[in-house]
Symmetry: C2
Subunit: 79 residues, 2 copies
C-alpha cells in the first residue's frame, strides 16, 4: 500500500532554509517572491490490507521517527 506523509513546520516556527531560498530567488531577480517554506513529503510502501490499520501504524512512525513533534505537524494520506 502506498502511503504519503506530508511533514511541515508549524506556522509560528521559523524556516531558515525557506528564508534562504526566498533571498536567493530575490537575488536572482524574482522581486515578486514573498515567503517561502520548504516541507518534506515521504512516500512509503507499506505491506498491509486494512487502510485504517496502516494509517494508524504510519502515524506512530511519524511520532517516533519521521517528524519532529516539537516543531512539525504531519498529515498521513493513504494511496
Amino acid at each position: 500500500m502506498k502511503v504519503t506523509v506530508h511533514v511541515h513546520r508549524r506556522p509560528d516556527i521559523a524556516d531558515p532554509q525557506g528564508t534562504t531560498v526566498a533571498r536567493a530567488l530575490r537575488d536572482l531577480g524574482y522581486e515578486n517572491v514573498g515567503k517561502v517554506r520548504i516541507n518534506r513529503t515521504i512516500e512509503l510502501d507499506v505491506q498491509g490490507t486494512d487502510p485504517a490499520v496502516v494509517e494508524a501504524e504510519v502515524r506512530t512512525m511519524c511520532e517516533r521517527l519521521l517528524a519532529n513533534p516539537v516543531m512539525e505537524d504531519f498529515e498521513v494520506v493513504i494511496g
Copy 2:
C-alpha cells in the same frame, strides 16, 4: 498567489536518505515497510495576477534554483 512546487528524484535515481529511513523504520520493528522516498515540497507566495504567467515564472525558478535538473523532476501547482 500561493504556489506549491513538488520536487522528487527521478525513479531511477537512488535516494540514500529514503533508504536510511526505511532501514531505521525496520530497525524500530516496522518489518512491513518497503521502499521509502523523501521528496520536498516548496510553498511560495508570489505576487502576480495571471496564474499562467506566475506558473511560467516559477518553472524558471525551478530550473535555475529550486530543483536539480540532473536528477530531479518538479511539478508546479498554482493555489
